[in-house]
């Protein structure tokens, strides 16, 4: 009897698996972020009329063989205060079907796509920033010959729960020479080219506006041993905003040049990135509004995780900037004088961006200016936008203690980077120190302490004061794998306005089990700039409880 059972199991099981395959697979994830808002006049926080606000998402993905279908349900009842209020209500703004057949990859519905480094097209979503500019339409990908990857697309770009007026057409080809010619040298080359065009009808009777506006780029990637070079040049034809005001329509072309060089070997990594950008914001509609932006210019600065280091973050100025970012990682080997038993990790970073010579390129009936990328290299005459010089030292002291130290000097042109009136705040200079110690009490129990200090110097020529000096303390206790507790206090003790010398205390408790994660928080948040990868949004101050739940299946 047992034998029969065993035999039948052996025979049936493949069919069971197969039948499961026939039905395909469903997975997804869910997230809800609930926040309560109460009035707090000391930080200008305003209670929400609704008392609580909630953003929630559910992604469902269905896969069966070469077919994938998916959708995302989004609910904003109503949107959190740091979200644009045009995210409102419920809907399924994202749905797609995709299949691959004999090397042809077809997507209809919504899709995200990036060409090269994104200079001419980047459609993506970032919930933290409230950005989702997915394209809705058709996308094809094909590999006609070995090493040649071709993408073609047509669609409209999402803006909140609507689609913008422009029609976006794009094509991209990437040619991997080594793959195509079956070269097996030490050096490999990848060439690429992209073209994106937007159609929007011209119904402006005063100005002659282009209806088809194209943006294109060429890129080259060379890898040789530990070296990696990436270069891209992008160009955009005339793209006036379509205004009736004579000075607002800029008919100049746009351009961007990106050069990145990386070298890495065991224990050492060097990155040098630079770019020149001039009038290169590309939008899904003529009108100059951030919700229409469909390209991306990477920001040249280190992405800091520590709060005070990211208090004054850099944001790319697509209308005109020149910048560079150098990063050196070095690990002092084990068992040396400075390396100690475990070695010591060092990271030296220097980033700087400034205006371009004579401002961005400009062209209309009465005046014109064309920027010169080569002149921008002389940075001493240009307006500084941002600079950051910092050193991070990471050292494992022993099996229980890990230490991370950061020292930074930053300059932040608040007027330019936050769109203030020129002369209002000028350049805020700050010196920041961070010490982060974690201590493993016993198996599964870790306590971590962060001490941060920011000393700030206002611009003497400015009319207003920035926020001044800050302390910050954070204590975090983790019981892995299920619990964490954290409390942090940011104290703006150096604010010029004594009434604003406030503590911003936040506490949170998190619980994780299996596929689910719960987090409850309470505290005051300061108004500020929140950035991811150099794309920033303004966050209003708030005071209240928060509840975040996420899970996947």
């Amino acid at each position: 009897m047992k034998k029969i059972l065993l035999l039948s199991f052996i025979f049936i099981s493949p069919y069971l698996l197969l039948s499961q395959n026939n039905l395909g697979q469903i997975n997804g994830n869910f997230e809800t972020n609930l926040q309560s808002y109460t009035d707090d006049p000391s930080i200008d926080a305003i209670a929400a009329d609704e008392v609580i606000l909630n953003n929630a998402y559910l992604n469902i993905l269905y896969t069966k063989g070469d077919f994938t279908g998916g959708l995302r349900y989004e609910s904003y009842l109503n949107a959190l205060q740091d979200y644009d209020s045009r995210y409102q209500g419920n809907g399924i703004p994202y749905r797609f079907a995709r299949y691959t057949s004999d090397g042809l990859d077809v997507t209809v519905g919504n899709y995200y796509e990036q060409f090269g480094s994104g200079l001419v097209l980047r459609s993506y979503e970032d919930k933290g920033l409230g950005i989702d500019n997915s394209l809705d339409g058709v996308r094809l990908k094909y590999v006609p010959i070995n090493g040649l990857y071709v993408t073609g697309l047509i669609g409209k770009s999402r803006t909140y729960f609507e689609y913008s007026k422009g029609i976006i057409r794009g094509a991209d080809a990437e040619f991997n020479i080594n793959e195509a010619l079956k070269l097996e040298g030490e050096t490999s080359y990848i060439l690429g080219g992209s073209f994106v065009s937007r159609f929007q009808k011209d119904n402006n009777p005063a100005f002659n506006l282009p209806e088809n506006v194209a943006s294109m780029s060429a890129r080259l990637n060379i890898m040789h041993g530990g070296f990696n070079y990436y270069g891209e040049y992008a160009y955009k034809i005339n793209d006036p905003v379509g205004s009736f005001s004579f000075d607002e329509n800029n008919y100049s072309t746009g351009k961007a040049i990106v050069n990145n060089l990386t070298y890495s070997q065991k224990g050492l990594g060097i990155t040098i990135e630079s770019h020149f950008v001039d009038h290169m914001e590309f939008r899904s509609e003529r009108a100059k509004q951030k919700e229409f932006i469909i390209n991306y210019i990477p920001t040249l600065s280190k992405n800091h995780a520590y709060t005070l280091l990211a208090l004054y973050p850099c944001a790319t100025q697509p209308e005109g900037e020149f910048g560079f970012n150098t990063n050196i990682f070095y690990k002092i080997p084990k068992n040396t004088l400075f390396g100690g038993k475990y070695g010591t990790k060092l990271n030296l970073n220097f980033a700087r961006t400034n205006s371009i010579e004579g401002g961005n390129s400009y062209l209309n009936d009465s005046s014109s200016h064309t920027s010169n990328p080569f002149k921008s290299i002389s940075i001493k005459d240009e307006t500084l936008y941002f600079s950051d010089f910092n050193l991070e030292i990471n050292k494992k002291i022993n099996k229980k203690v890990n230490l991370n130290l950061v020292l930074a000097k930053q300059k932040y042109n608040k007027d330019v980077l936050e769109g203030k009136t020129i002369g209002e705040y000028g350049i805020v200079s700050s010196t920041i120190a961070v010490a982060d110690v974690s201590y493993k009490i016993k198996k599964g129990h870790t306590i971590r302490l962060e001490l941060q200090e920011l000393l700030s110097k206002d611009d003497v020529t400015a009319t207003n004061h920035a926020d001044g000096d800050w302390h910050m303390v954070l204590a975090e206790y983790t019981i892995s794998p299920n619990w964490f507790f954290a409390i942090q206090d940011m104290y703006n003790y150096g604010n010029y306005d004594e009434e604003k010398q406030l503590h911003y205390v936040n506490t949170s408790i998190g619980f994780m089990k299996g596929a689910n994660r719960f987090e409850i928080g309470y505290g005051k948040k300061r108004a500020g700039i929140f950035c991811v990868g150099g794309i920033c949004k303004e966050v209003p101050s708030s005071n209240g409880f928060s509840l975040n739940i996420s899970s996947n299946f």
């Binding site: 090493g147 040649l148 005063a206 194209a214 006036p240 009108a287 009136t421």
Partner: protein
């Protein structure tokens, strides 16, 4: 080698696509300075732009300039109202400060902003005839012109005639609205109600304004500033059924001092940081703006404007 050929022809293909599908525009870019033919009809369709602005909003002067350019082009077919809503950008400084002490805010502007929520998406923003409510009505300044084109192409369903005998702060405004077509006559459902709203605005108020290129401007000219609405923020009903030629008439008494006091009172007693510095109205710079809107969708179907005095 065959691969290389493919590649080259592919890139050539892309290049060809480039050349054929983009519009490089050669100057002159300004093609029509103002050659709109004068409309000889009694009543023409006019458009209202409500420009949400504030004296501390550095990007707002560009929107005011856009409105001025549109008016320069379309003449009296484009009528403007500048609304200074009470959140952030319009808040005045205390009276003992040196700048930004004027309080441009009004109860009416705040009520309008509460419904249409323009400040929540960031200023400057505007509405063109309040079209697109409630998902596509909050327009950036560069989006105004294209909606104006669409709106001006519509035929007017009402004609408004205004007159005023206001002088030395007192008088009467007479409003006459004429149906230019049959409205709702054959309908049994989805009947549209129409409301009429009587506003006073003021031009040429010289006060401080932030500007992102010029800094803090001391003598900035604020135009089309909404001062008051004579028959409540959302107006009064004109009814819902009209035969072509039907006339609706009403007179509104005006006493500038009383109206000024009401604004001052709102500033002092209701508004955050209100300082009561909202007076000094100059009747000779004031306009009467009257609009009719469809209460189902808030869309403004007709608007008219005349000077308050000198008739």
């Amino acid at each position: 080698m065959k691969h290389l050929k493919y590649t080259i022809s592919f890139f050539l293909g892309i290049l060809l696509f480039n050349i054929t599908s983009c519009d490089v525009v050669e100057g002159p870019y300004l093609i029509d300075d103002n050659t709109n033919p004068v409309d000889t009809n009694n009543f023409v369709k006019k458009v209202l732009i409500e420009d949400f602005t504030g004296h501390r909003c550095p990007n707002c002067p560009a929107a005011a300039e856009e409105l001025a350019s549109l008016q320069n082009f379309y003449g009296d077919k484009v009528i403007g109202i500048a609304i200074h809503p009470s959140s952030t950008f319009a808040i005045p400084d205390p009276l003992n400060s040196s700048k930004f002490t004027y309080d441009f805010r009004t109860e009416f502007g705040d009520d309008i902003d509460n419904i249409f929520e323009l400040t929540t998406v960031g200023l400057p923003r505007g509405m063109v005839n309040r079209t697109g409510f409630d998902t596509e009505h909050q327009l950036g300044k560069d989006e105004w012109s294209s909606v104006i084109q669409t709106e001006l192409a519509k035929s007017p369903i009402f004609g408004i005639t205004l007159s005023s005998d206001v002088s030395n702060g007192n008088g009467t405004i007479s409003v006459t609205a004429e149906a230019l077509t049959n409205i709702n006559l054959d309908k049994t459902e989805e009947i549209e109600d129409y409301n009429i709203v009587i506003c006073l605005t003021e031009n040429g108020i010289i006060e401080w304004q932030k500007d992102n290129t010029a800094g803090d401007i001391e003598e900035y000219e604020h135009n089309h500033v909404l001062r008051t609405i004579l028959n409540t923020t959302f107006g009064e009903s004109m009814g819902n059924s009209f035969v072509d030629g039907d006339i609706w008439e009403k007179d509104y008494p005006v006493d500038i001092t009383t109206l000024e006091n009401a604004n001052e009172n709102y500033s002092l007693n209701t508004l955050f940081m209100g300082n009561g510095n909202s007076k000094g109205w100059d009747e000779n710079n004031m306009e009467i703006v009257v609009y009719i809107y469809n209460t189902n969708n808030y869309e403004i179907v007709q608007v008219e404007q005349i000077h308050l005095t000198n008739h």
